[in-house]
C-alpha cells in the first residue's frame, strides 16, 4: 500500500484559515474599539437604499420557497452527474448511455410527479 501524504502538506491550508479568521475577527474587533460611537435612533435604523424599512424583519418565507429550493438542488445534482458522463461519453459507450438514460428517466418521472402534485405552481 502506498503511504498516504503526511498531514504536513495541509499546514498551509490551515494557516490560510487561521489568517482569514484573524483578519476578519481583527477588523470587527478593531472597529468596535477604535471607531467613535455616537448612536442615535436614525443611525440605528436598518439602512436599505434610502428607504425606511417596512413591517417586521422576521418574515416567514412561504414553504413553496423551500420546495423550489429543494427541486433546484435535485436538478443541480443531476447536472453534477451528467457533466462527468458527458466528458467520458465515448469511453463509457452504450452501457454508460443506458445507465445515464435510466437515471434521467427516473428524474423525469420525479419531475412529472412533482408537476402533477402541484409543487411547481406558485399560486393555487
Amino acid at each position: 500500500m502506498k503511504p498516504l501524504p503526511s498531514m504536513a502538506s495541509y499546514v498551509p491550508v490551515m494557516l490560510l484559515f487561521i489568517l482569514a479568521a484573524l483578519v476578519a475577527g481583527g477588523m470587527f474587533t478593531a472597529t468596535t474599539y477604535l471607531g467613535p460611537k455616537n448612536p442615535n435612533p436614525t443611525k440605528e435604523y436598518p439602512f436599505e437604499c434610502g428607504h425606511l424599512g417596512e413591517g417586521s424583519g422576521d418574515v416567514r418565507p412561504s414553504v413553496k420557497f423551500y420546495m423550489t429550493a429543494l427541486l433546484f438542488v435535485v436538478f443541480d445534482i443531476e447536472a453534477v452527474m451528467i457533466y462527468p458522463w458527458a466528458v467520458e461519453f465515448r469511453s463509457l459507450g452504450w452501457s454508460g448511455f443506458a445507465t445515464m438514460g435510466s437515471f434521467i428517466l427516473v428524474v423525469f418521472v420525479l419531475l412529472a410527479y412533482v408537476w402533477k402534485k402541484g409543487a411547481l405552481e406558485w399560486e393555487k
Binding site: K2, V109, K116
Partner: protein, 501 residues
C-alpha cells in the same frame, strides 16, 4: 451486465415498482375514497414480487451469475443479501397491508405513504447489500429519510411531528458519528470497501503505530452509530417516542424492516471491517462492548416495558429488548464455525412476522378517532372482538417465546449460539429477561380477557379491514410454519451466513 441486472432484480423490482406506484397515485383517477386501498394492494404486490424474486435467486444461487460481481463491493449480491431482501420485503409488505386498513380509518388517506415505504425499503435493501462505506451511507440515508417522513405522517398530531423531529435529529447525529468513523477509517487505510479495509487492518496498517489510535477512535464511533440504528440502550431513547408517535404501520415497519436492515449492516461492518483477531478479541475488541450493550438493552428495556400504560409504547420497549437478544447472537459470532449468524438471521425473520402480526392485531383493536393504545382500551376486547384479541394474544405469545411458535425457536437458537460461544452468563440473563418479558405480554392478555372496561370510559371500538386481516393471517401462518418446521428455515439461514476471516 445481464447478470448484474438479474442479480439486482430484487432492488430494481421494488424501485421501479415504487416509481410506478407514484405515477399511479399522481395520475390515476379515483371514483371515490382515498388512494390508500389501491396503493396498499399495489405496494403489497410490489413487495411480494421483490420477495419472490429474491427467494428464487436465493434458491437458484447467486453464484450462478458470475457477472453479478461487477457491482461488488458497492452492492454485493450473495445469499446473505437475498435473505435480507426477502425478510425486508416481507416486513414492508405486511406494513403496506396494514396501512391499507389503517390510513383510511384514521383519516390519513394520502398516497405519499406508499412511495415513502417503497423507497425506504429500497434503501434498506441497498444497506443490506452494501460492502462499501459509500453505498452503505447512501442506503442508510435513503432508508432513514423515508422513515422520518413516515413517522411524521400524521401532520395534524403534535405527537407525531415531535416524534419525527426527534428521530430526525438523533438519527442525523448517529449518522454523523458513523460517517465520522468511516472518514477516519478512510483516512488511515485509503479504502472505502470493507474487504480492503479489513485486509489493511489485518496486515497491521503498514506498521504505522499512530494509525492504530485513530482506528480505535473510528471503531468507537462506528459502534455508536450502529448501536443507534439497532436502538440499543443507551442509544435507544428516541425509540419509544418515535414508535408511539408514528402511525402504527410505520411503527411496524421501523420495528421490523429498519431493525433487520440495521442488523444486516452491523454484521457486514463488524465481520467485514472489524473481522480481524484483535478487533474480535473477547478481551479487548468489540465483542465485550456489544455484550455490555446487549445486557443493558435487554434488562433496562424489559424493566421499563413492564411499567408502561400504553400498549404501543410497551411494544416499542419490547422491540428494544428483542434487539438486545439479537445482540447476544451477534456477539456469539466470534466463535468460528458456529451457527450464530444463522441464529441472528432466523431471529430477525421470526421477530419480523411476530411483531408485524402484533402491530396488525393492535390496529384492528381500535378505530377512527380512538386508536387502541392503552391497556384500558383493550379491556374486555376478548368479548368485543374475539378475533383481534386472539390474534394479538397469539403474536404476543410468539414474542414471549412460547413454544411452538416462531419466537420460541428464535430465542432457542440465539441461546444455543450463546452457550456455544461460551457466553453462559449472558445467555442465562437472556433467558431470565425473557421470563420478565412474559409478564408484560401476559398483562395484555389479562386485560383483554379478564377485565371489563371501566363503566362510562370511552373505549376503543374495534375496526374491520380486509387488508389488516390479511396481514394478520399471513403473519400467523408464517409464525406457525416457523414454529412447526424451524429446521428448514434455520437451514436457509445457515446457508445465508456471511463468510469471514
Amino acid at each position: 451486465m445481464k447478470d448484474a441486472l438479474l442479480a439486482l432484480a430484487p432492488i430494481l423490482v421494488v424501485a421501479f415498482g415504487g416509481l410506478g406506484l407514484m405515477m399511479t397515485e399522481a395520475f390515476g383517477t379515483r371514483k371515490k375514497g382515498g388512494p390508500a386501498s389501491d396503493l396498499a394492494l399495489g405496494s403489497f404486490i410490489v413487495f411480494m414480487a421483490g420477495a419472490v424474486v429474491s427467494a428464487s435467486l436465493w434458491a437458484a444461487g447467486p453464484e450462478q451469475l458470475p457477472g453479478a460481481s461487477s457491482t461488488a463491493p458497492w452492492l454485493i449480491v450473495d445469499r446473505f443479501t437475498l435473505f435480507f431482501d426477502t425478510v425486508l420485503c416481507l416486513g414492508a409488505g405486511l406494513s403496506a397491508l396494514m396501512a391499507g386498513g389503517y390510513l383510511p380509518e384514521h383519516r390519513l388517506d394520502r398516497g405519499e405513504f406508499f412511495p415513502l415505504l417503497v423507497f425506504s425499503t429500497v434503501g434498506a435493501m441497498i444497506l443490506a447489500a452494501s460492502g462499501d462505506l459509500l453505498s452503505l451511507f447512501i442506503g442508510l440515508e435513503t432508508m432513514s429519510i423515508g422513515v422520518y417522513a413516515m413517522v411524521g405522517f400524521r401532520r395534524g398530531s403534535l405527537r407525531s411531528t415531535e416524534a419525527a423531529v426527534k428521530y430526525f435529529l438523533l438519527g442525523s447525529f448517529a449518522a454523523a458519528l458513523l460517517l465520522y468513523g468511516g472518514a477516519l477509517i478512510y483516512g488511515i487505510t485509503g479504502k472505502t470497501d470493507f474487504a480492503s479495509i479489513g485486509a489493511a487492518i489485518k496486515n497491521g496498517l503498514g506498521g504505522r503505530q499512530a494509525d492504530f489510535g485513530m482506528l480505535l477512535v473510528a471503531m468507537v464511533l462506528v459502534l455508536a452509530g450502529l448501536a443507534f440504528k439497532v436502538s440499543s440502550v443507551p442509544f435507544h431513547m428516541w425509540t419509544p417516542d418515535a414508535y408511539e408517535g408514528a402511525p402504527t404501520p410505520a411503527t411496524s415497519y421501523m420495528a421490523v424492516a429498519v431493525k433487520s436492515a440495521a442488523f444486516a449492516m452491523m454484521l457486514r461492518v463488524l465481520l467485514g471491517v472489524f473481522g480481524d483477531s484483535a478487533s474480535m478479541s473477547w478481551g479487548t475488541g468489540w465483542p465485550p462492548v456489544l455484550a455490555a450493550l446487549a445486557l443493558l438493552t435487554m434488562t433496562v428495556s424489559n424493566l421499563i416495558a413492564g411499567r408502561q400504560e400504553s400498549v404501543k409504547r410497551m411494544l416499542a420497549y419490547s422491540s428494544i429488548a428483542h434487539a438486545g437478544y439479537v445482540l447476544v447472537g451477534v456477539v456469539a459470532v466470534i466463535k468460528p464455525g458456529s451457527d450464530a449468524q444463522a441464529s441472528v438471521l432466523f431471529y430477525l425473520l421470526s421477530y419480523t412476522v411476530s411483531t408485524a402480526g402484533a402491530f396488525a392485531a393492535l390496529i384492528l383493536c381500535g378505530s377512527r378517532g380512538r386508536e387502541a393504545v392503552s391497556f384500558e382500551d383493550l379491556a374486555g376486547l376478548g368479548k368485543r372482538h374475539p378475533v383481534a384479541a386472539f390474534a394479538l394474544s397469539f403474536f404476543l405469545l410468539s414474542l414471549a417465546g412460547m413454544p411452538p411458535t416462531a419466537g420460541f425457536f428464535g430465542k432457542f437458537y440465539i441461546a444455543r449460539a450463546g452457550i456455544g460461544a461460551g457466553l453462559n452468563v449472558l445467555t442465562v440473563l437472556l433467558l431470565l429477561n425473557s421470563v420478565i418479558a412474559a409478564y408484560y405480554y401476559l398483562r395484555v392478555m389479562v386485560f383483554m380477557y379478564m377485565r371489563e372496561p371501566a363503566p362510562g370510559a370511552p373505549s376503543a371500538i374495534p375496526m374491520r379491514s380486509g387488508y389488516v386481516t390479511a396481514a394478520i393471517v399471513l403473519s400467523a401462518v408464517l409464525v406457525v410454519l416457523l414454529g412447526v418446521w424451524p429446521s428448514t428455515s434455520l437451514k436457509v439461514a445457515i446457508d445465508s451466513a456471511l463468510t469471514f476471516r
